[in-house]
């Protein structure tokens, strides 16, 4: 059986080996075999050949990740669970898989990030290795560069984050369909940046719980550091409704 490497990047940061194909792995991670787990899952498929350096113990992976005695595939063998993101080369990150709470999987392919970065305030949900929600006057690539700059008193080696919707109604308040926990606070933070407080970013929440997470995604997901940025664009709504109807319905209808 072929061994795949996956990097889990929410709930916990981990590199996992598995015999399961991405879709089956995603379903397994979302709901488990006894259906006792629940919640959205995000993971990357990792290109083993592109992994450089010796941080991860992969040479004996074939001995460790073996099928069960009954012949069924090994669903997960954890390789590493700490500081994983920073030790995987940007080039080794394959498709990003978004798994809904009931196990529907959507694959996103990375593209060269060419979007025109418009001025204005953005809302980012940092997903790995830290997880606050922030508003930022910086565009995604600048935000990644800023946050991974070792010259900053606070930085991380690499950051994986989602660009979130920040739609506002005619009165300037957050649009009613956005499920954020404290919309007034978000708007206050946005106003603070708009009024020129001098800060590039402001933390909205240290431990955000975004219900209906997938329907709040704007341009997509980003993974970046000082060397560059990879963008996983989120499909247009029409494409989701037509070509990924089951996933989209699951993503928008579930309560979590």
């Amino acid at each position: 059986m072929q061994i795949h490497l996956y990097m889990l990047c929410n709930r916990c940061e981990a590199l996992v080996a598995s015999h399961l194909e991405p879709e089956a792995f995603g379903r397994y991670m979302a709901v488990g075999t006894q259906k006792n787990t629940r919640g959205n899952v995000l993971f990357f498929e990792i290109d083993r050949a592109a992994l450089r350096g010796g941080f991860f113990r992969l040479d004996d992976i074939e001995q460790r990740c073996v099928p069960h005695p009954d012949g069924s595939p090994k669903r997960s063998k954890y390789i590493s669970i700490y500081r994983v993101l920073e030790h995987i080369d940007l080039g080794a990150f394959g498709p990003l898989y978004l798994v809904t709470a009931d196990g529907r999987v959507l694959a996103l392919q990375a593209d060269g990030y060419t979007a025109k970065e418009e001025p204005g305030v953005n809302l980012y949900d940092e997903l790995c290795p830290v997880s606050p929600m922030v508003v930022s006057a910086l565009a995604p690539s600048k935000f990644a560069t800023f946050l991974t700059d070792p010259a900053n008193p606070i930085s991380v080696p690499r950051i994986f984050f989602a660009d979130m919707l920040l739609d506002r109604d005619e009165t300037g308040r957050l649009a009613g369909y956005l499920p954020y926990a404290d919309p007034m606070h978000i708007i206050d933070c946005v106003k603070e940046l708009e009024q020129g407080s001098g800060k590039p970013s402001k933390t909205v929440s240290r431990s955000p719980r975004v219900h209906g997470f997938f329907r709040t995604i704007r341009r997509g997901f980003f993974i970046g550091d000082q060397t560059g940025i990879r963008h996983y664009p989120f499909p247009e709504r029409r494409e989701l409704e037509v070509n990924h109807a089951k996933w989209w319905r699951s993503a928008t209808e579930s309560l979590s």
């Binding site: 259906k35 629940r38 009613g176 956005l178 209906g212 409704e241 579930s254 979590s256």
Partner: protein, 848 residues
């Protein structure tokens, strides 16, 4: 008690013996000298020899029917048949429509099979009971004319059969139409909308046609005394409606709550997800609850208002008073045919324009009906000297010369019954508006609920209670104003005429039964079609054939679902309002029967007798007050039994779904769940659970009547009508408001789907579900069943009861006591049954 025991040094056993002895002594004393020192002189009954029967009286030699009246009755018969033919034509249109893909047909077939299985099982369960009751009616008839004995029993059977037919055919058509609507949505909005509405119209016209046909045929056979047989016809329809409402209500909500609990809450999957084993049962539930239950419910209101109008018409306006309601109904059927056919939607219509078209149909029907019965009234309501003789003090005016607005100066003309019908149409419209105000997303009450969701689950529940309570007050005020208007219209006449006026309000209110049921059934048809679209559409294939077609079709189905939700909610107000008006009219009939001793002597009743007996029904009499209190409590007990039943059934469904979800193949979507098992659980549980509430509905009035006498039974009915109306409106409107508050949030306010506010809204909706779809609607037939049982047993109650038997013998008291005890034991058994645990629950409790 402590001092008492110490003083007499009594052991526990001695104390029990002493209490037993005292009970026996009081009982004996009570038998010997009943009452509370009040005058309980039995009513001055008319002589027994007055009643006789001539079959087909309009063809008898010295008939009182004018040739024109006979002709009009046959025209009404033809209209009834025309209504049925119209229904058959629409049904064939629906059946001929495109049925979509094989996958869609497979899903629709599962829903249809489940629905058929449910009604089949119900028929097998209730069938023997109906036969038994037919026999019982035959044996317990307290009148003197054998033809009425047989006529009533046979009519009961036919009424039950018609009610079941309306429910069965309606549901069958709905489960056929839903597939066609889903298929039509892939082509155009207008076609899907029209098919859905016409599917509902088949049921509506079937109700209209069968109701009118039954009433007219019975009238042709029995003439002016048709109410004798119609009582049986109405009771048959009412009883079946109760069972259909109760069974359907339990089924639909058990399946819905079960599906939601496991699907949405536990497994986090969307509604109608094919992996959920309860999905098909949920769709079946929409049909058995909203199609079969509602159709049977309206059918029985249709009949019961006719029964009340005929009894009171005979006692007040005589011959013409009996025929007029039938003629009005005929006009109503005509109005429904024209107006339902006028409901159309264009290719590019939206939910707003479609709703406008449905409402326009209702207005057209109202206009036709009002014009029709005003013209009919002008031509037919002539009473040259036929109004009942009455002591002058009861008439504040000359009975043969009403005010100008009531007869336009034409001697002998009295338009007041027609005006009462007009008030009935107005009542239907106003109740629609009130229900819409409290349950529609466009108005403040539902908005306030949605807002309350932002602060949590509890505030949503609290606000829902407030909205529900307020709505019930407004509804009862509307009904009170309606009755007041009738009183004003009949000002100066004795109360019996006012009672007839109220009955005619009921006749007017249900004139557009065809439209009302079309609007109601359209709801579950659109809902099911949406489910079929969700499970049965193949997006990739549809998009390959025509870009954008999948999204457009889903949008059409979602819009239709929204229109269906609105129309369904609006008709609930009419169902409850009609139940109350019918019950008030029946209550007047009840007094009329007490006044003369049995219903076969109604035509001999004097106004003095009616007024005297009505005056004795006062809560100043403790026995009447006791009846009033018990009557007021019964709707609560009934609702409690139903809500518990839903919880119990949902528990079993949750367990079954959990077991099926453990199968990884089902979870992967590579294996179909066993939908049939959940359908079976729902079917069996709903059948089991309807016995208890059914026993309560039938036995409670009998128990009170035989134990405390006819006046207490009158008090019982009054309390039950008042509280039943209040609780039914509260449950329906609060539940509807919670449901729509959730929909509002899902449409994108306060964070939309998945937000904290949404979770609070889901809690409100779950709480409201068994209220609005199980207990609330079932209270309507409960009110009428209890009224009908009281009316039917009143002759026996007058003779045999513990307090005041008309025959005045001790054996009559003993019979009364024995029957009352039997009923009390039956009710106790029913309550005990409603509290028992299912085997799965008991097993669950036994686990450490």
């Amino acid at each position: 008690m402590k001092y008492f025991n110490r003083m007499f040094k009594l052991t526990a056993a001695a104390r029990r013996r002493y209490l037993m002895l005292m009970m026996l002594l009081f009982g004996a004393a009570y038998f010997w000298q009943p009452g509370f020192g009040q005058d309980r002189t039995p009513p001055a009954h008319a002589s027994a020899e007055g009643a006789h029967f001539v079959p087909f009286p309009m063809f008898a030699e010295n008939t009182t029917f004018a040739p024109l009246e006979v002709a009009m009755l046959f025209v009404v018969l033809l209209i009834a048949v025309a209504g049925l033919i119209y229904a058959a034509l629409l049904a064939s249109q629906v059946l001929k429509a495109d049925q979509g893909t094989a996958k869609m047909r497979e899903i629709a077939s599962a829903v249809r099979e489940g629905s058929n299985a449910y009604l089949g099982a119900q028929f097998r369960k209730i069938g023997p009971l109906i036969l038994l009751l037919t026999l019982l009616l035959l044996l317990t008839y307290s009148g003197t004319v054998d033809a009425f004995r047989w006529g009533r029993a046979a009519s009961f059977f036919v009424g039950a059969l018609f009610s079941w037919t309306v429910g069965f055919v309606g549901m069958r058509l709905a489960t056929t139409g839903n597939l066609r609507v889903a298929a039509a949505a892939t082509r155009s909005y207008g076609e899907a909308m029209q098919l859905g509405y016409r599917t509902g119209t088949v049921t509506g016209m079937l109700t209209d046609g069968l109701g009118l046909l039954g009433g007219t045929v019975i009238f042709i056979i029995f003439g002016e005394q048709a109410y004798e047989a119609l009582l049986g016809f109405g009771f048959g329809g009412t009883l079946l409606a109760l069972f259909m409402r109760v069974g359907g209500g339990i089924y639909t909500k058990a399946a819905d709550v079960g599906a939601d609990l496991v699907g949405k809450i536990e497994q986090d999957i969307p509604e109608d997800d094919p992996r959920n084993a309860a999905t098909i049962a949920d769709n079946v539930g929409d049909n058995v609850g909203d199609c079969a239950g509602m159709s049977a419910d309206i059918f029985e209101s249709y009949e019961v208002t006719m029964v009340a109008a005929m009894i009171l018409g005979m006692a007040s306006f005589g011959h013409i008073g009996v025929i007029f309601p039938l003629l009005v109904r005929g006009i109503g059927v005509l109005g429904s045919i024209v107006s339902t056919y006028s409901v159309k939607a264009g290719k590019e219509d939206t939910s707003d324009t479609a709703l406008h078209s449905v409402h326009r149909g209702f207005w057209i029907g109202s206009a036709i009906s009002v014009t029709g019965f005003i013209v009919l009234g002008f031509l037919y309501l002539r009473f040259p000297g036929v109004l009942k003789e009455a002591p002058a003090e009861f008439w504040a005016m000359d009975p043969t010369a009403p005010a100008f607005w009531a007869n336009f100066g034409v001697p002998g003309l009295d338009m007041r019954p027609a005006i009462a019908c007009f008030i009935g149409v107005l009542l239907a419209i106003v109740l629609n508006k009130v229900t819409s105000y409290y349950t529609h997303t466009g108005h403040a009450p539902v908005r306030s609920l949605a807002r309350a969701c932002q602060t949590g689950h509890a505030t949503n529940i609290i606000q829902g209670f407030a909205v529900g309570y307020e709505s019930t007050v407004v509804t009862i005020l509307v009904i009170a104003v309606t009755i007041l208007l009738t009183v004003l219209v009949f000002a100066g006449t004795p109360p019996l005429f006012v009672a007839y006026g109220v009955a005619m309000v009921g006749i007017g209110m249900l004139t557009l039964t065809g439209n009302t049921i079309s609007m109601d059934v359209f709801g579950p048809v659109a809902d099911n079609a949406n489910g079929i679209g969700e499970m049965g559409y193949e997006p990739e294939e549809m998009e390959r054939r025509e870009a954008g077609s999948y999204k457009r079709a889903r949008q059409i189905l979602a819009d239709l679902d929204a229109v269906g939700n609105t129309t369904k909610a609006e008709t609930k107000g009419i169902a409850i309002g009609s139940a109350v008006i019918a019950a008030v009219s029946l209550f007047s009939s009840f007094i009329a029967v007490i006044a003369v001793g049995s219903e076969d002597k109604i035509d001999q009743m004097t106004i003095l007798q009616y007024v005297t007996e009505a005056g004795r029904l006062t809560i100043a009499d403790p026995v009447v007050f006791i009846g009033f209190l018990i009557g007021g409590a019964v709707p609560f007990l009934f609702s409690s039994m139903l809500i518990r039943a839903v919880g119990r059934a949902a528990f079993d469904i949750v367990n079954e779904c959990r077991v099926q979800f453990r199968d990884p193949q089902i979870w992967d979507g590579t294996k179909k769940p066993d939908y049939g098992r959940v359908v079976d659980i729902c079917t069996n549980t709903a059948q089991k659970e309807l016995i208890g509430p059914g026993v309560l509905a039938m036995m409670a009035p009998v128990c009170v009547g035989f134990l405390l006498g006819p006046y207490a039974l009158g008090g019982f009915l009054a309390g039950m009508i008042l509280v039943g109306q209040l609780i039914a409106v509260f449950m329906s409107n609060a539940g509807g408001a919670w449901d729509n508050a959730k929909k509002m949030i899902e449409d994108g306010i306060y964070g939309g789907k998945g937000s904290e506010a949404h979770k609070a809204a889901v809690t409100g909706d779950t709480v409201g579900d068994p209220l609005k779809d199980t207990a609330g609607p079932a209270v309507n037939p409960l009110i009428k069943v209890m009224n009908m049982v009281s009316l039917l047993t009143l002759g026996l109650v007058l003779r045999y009861n513990l307090i005041d038997p008309s025959v005045g013998e001790h054996s009559a008291r003993l019979v009364g006591l024995a029957v009352a005890l039997l009923c009390a034991f039956s009710i106790a058994w029913a309550v005990w049954q409603s509290k028992r645990e299912t085997p799965a629950m008991a097993q669950d409790r036994a686990m450490p």
